[in-house]
């Protein structure tokens, strides 16, 4: 199967091409630069370097969030519209699961998270076989860490934003927390592609971002309705 994988859900921008099940090319940057400008040139480059034409693709994989609302939409719009144009399936993969897979061989729990400001994180908890232990959620990091503490098992924490929360992690989890070096903290697009290869694609139009949060205006509106 030939798969193009796209991830622009956070600062990391990743593009991978899988040809006949093997990783043919992967392009990853981790810089604060505009995904909308850089994504299609990156896809063009990786496809050219791997001698692939868009019509050679059998499937498109995309990180569907959570993450930056705008970032998630850029990746998803691109993946959905390319797949629709080519008449091939598109498969969404959780942006958190994509990071969690970096710890796939860890003996214990794997906790990927993205900082969501004001002490909040987007997170979820995975077992070492990459099945889900605790569903993805938008939660106060402090509360989440106390939940992890109760598991009483080693937890591998994976996040680009580790520095923002490191103090709290060490304070609450102590030796239970395992914090690897920088290269383990970001999602690899080739892994997104391989997860997508095994998933059953759903209807294309129905694939929408997993924001894990309603817009602020809507939250305020709902609050007012309750008054």
């Amino acid at each position: 199967m030939n798969v193009l994988a796209i991830d622009t859900s956070n600062y990391v921008m990743g593009v991978a091409v899988i040809r006949d099940g093997a990783v043919a090319g992967e392009y990853v940057t981790n810089i604060k630069k505009n995904h909308s400008i850089r994504l299609m040139p990156a896809i063009d480059q990786v496809m050219k370097e791997t001698s692939m034409m868009p019509s050679d693709l059998d499937r498109i994989a995309v990180a569907h969030g959570p993450g930056s609302y705008t970032g998630v939409r850029i990746g998803l719009t691109t993946a959905k519209t390319m797949a629709w144009s080519l008449g091939i399936p598109v498969v969404g993969v959780s942006s958190l699961e994509a990071v969690a897979r970096q710890g796939a061989f860890f003996q214990g729990y794997v906790c990927p998270f993205f900082d969501a400001r004001r002490g909040l994180v987007y997170t979820g908890l995975y077992r070492s076989d990459m099945t889900i232990e605790k569903d993805e959620t938008n939660v106060l990091m402090e509360d989440w860490l106390h939940q992890l503490k109760e598991l009483d098992e080693p937890v591998l924490l994976l996040s680009q934003d580790i520095a923002v929360h490191e103090e709290k992690i060490v304070e609450i989890l102590g030796d239970q927390a395992v914090l690897p070096k920088a290269p383990y903290h970001y999602a690899r697009p080739a892994i997104i592609a391989s997860v997508a290869e095994e998933k059953e694609p759903g209807p294309l139009h129905d694939l929408v971002p997993n924001y894990l949060r309603i817009p602020e205006a809507e939250a305020k509106w709902l609050e007012q309705q309750e008054k």
């Binding site: 299609m40 939409r73 719009t77 390319m82 602020e216 809507e218 509106w221």
Partner: protein
């Protein structure tokens, strides 16, 4: 025999997800608009984040509907055009990235289009342009007089110094507690009222084609406030009629004066406010007996749509303009620079 040329266009600059196909620059093949107005109503205006969320849900559905309606496939298209700006950045991004994706997947040329150029070109789907022409662009975000000496060239000879006409409508409507969107509501009320209040008209300095509506807006709000304090009953119909009279008087008078000074063959009204009955009537009256032909597009081409982007995009495409894979949403895109950009 020359083969037919087809341009598929996408427009997502505000709260409509729109896809259209135009043949040979001027023939409308299909024009699909998925409106989100119901979703924004409860907030009393367009919420950008919610608009963006709707766009990504609607984008491929709308594309498919357009192709089905036209009975065509992407392979039939000669190029893909898209609104690159101005507009809400998050909303624009969905359209721009969708257009790039189609163009890349099918290896088709890509053309970026200025939203206002689109509004002007909507008229070309009804009647061929004759240059020089002037366009009075009136919408929620714009009020300007644009001179075109030839295809693809735009010279702004007057623009608003504060609020756009549509913005003033929305603010006055909110003060009158009319439901969103306020513009059409005021127009409707104005039809039933009379001009009983003499609101100011901002003519600005002699010879200027600029506009200003913030003074008028404040005058209306102050007058309503005063009436409330005095327990005086002002008929909302009359307030609407008086406010609208001031707006359309300034717009139509300046439009006619500009048309005469520049000796233009056509005066094209463009943008969402072109749907306003009061404005249409005032312009028709002013331009009666004028050498300049007045063109006002049908309603479905006044509000945001992708047919207008296809019409403008087709001209840009035939003039040799091409966007690269790095095309981005540009919320502050400048109309004159857009017209003068390099090929």
């Amino acid at each position: 025999m020359k083969e037919d040329q087809y341009i598929l266009a996408i427009e997502t600059s505000c709260d409509e997800t729109a896809v259209a196909i135009v043949r040979n620059e001027t023939e409308l093949v299909t024009n699909i608009v998925a409106s989100q107005i119901e979703s924004h109503k409860r907030f009393g205006g367009v919420v950008p984040e919610i608009a963006s969320r709707h766009h990504i849900e609607q984008m491929t559905i709308t594309l498919e509907e357009a192709l089905e309606d036209a009975g065509m496939t992407l392979d039939d298209m000669d190029a893909i055009a898209v609104t690159e700006g101005p507009g809400l950045v998050g909303a624009l991004l969905v359209g721009v990235n969708a257009a790039k994706s189609i163009a890349f997947a099918k290896q088709k040329p890509l053309v970026g289009v200025h939203h206002i150029a689109g509004h002007i070109y909507a008229n070309r789907l009804e009647k061929e342009f004759e240059f020089p022409l002037l366009s009075l662009v009136v919408s929620g975000g714009h009020t300007e007089l644009v001179l075109m000496r030839e295809h693809g060239s735009f010279e702004i000879i007057g623009e608003t110094r504060d609020d756009a006409a549509g913005e003033a409508y929305d603010k006055v409507a909110r003060t009158l507690k009319l439901p969103y969107p306020g513009g059409p509501q005021i127009d409707r009320l104005a039809q039933e009222g009379e001009e009983t209040i003499d609101f100011p008209r901002a003519w600005l300095e002699d010879g200027s084609y600029d506009f200003s509506f913030s003074g008028l807006k404040s005058a209306v709000i102050n007058r309503l406030h005063k009436a409330k304090q005095r327990d005086e009953h002002l008929k909302p119909e009359d307030v609407a009629a008086s406010f609208q009279a001031s707006v359309v008087d300034v717009l139509s008078t300046k439009a006619l004066r500009a048309a005469e000074e520049y000796g233009v063959k056509q005066m094209i009204v463009a943008g969402g406010v072109a749907a306003n009955k009061g404005l249409r009537a005032a312009l028709q009256e002013k331009f009666e007996g004028s050498e300049t032909e007045l063109l006002i597009p049908p309603l479905h081409l006044c509000t945001d749509n992708a047919a207008m982007i296809a019409a403008a995009g087709a001209v840009a495409y035939n003039q040799g303009h091409r966007a690269g894979w790095d095309l981005n949403a540009n919320p502050g895109l400048d109309l004159e620079l857009f017209g003068g950009r390099k090929k």
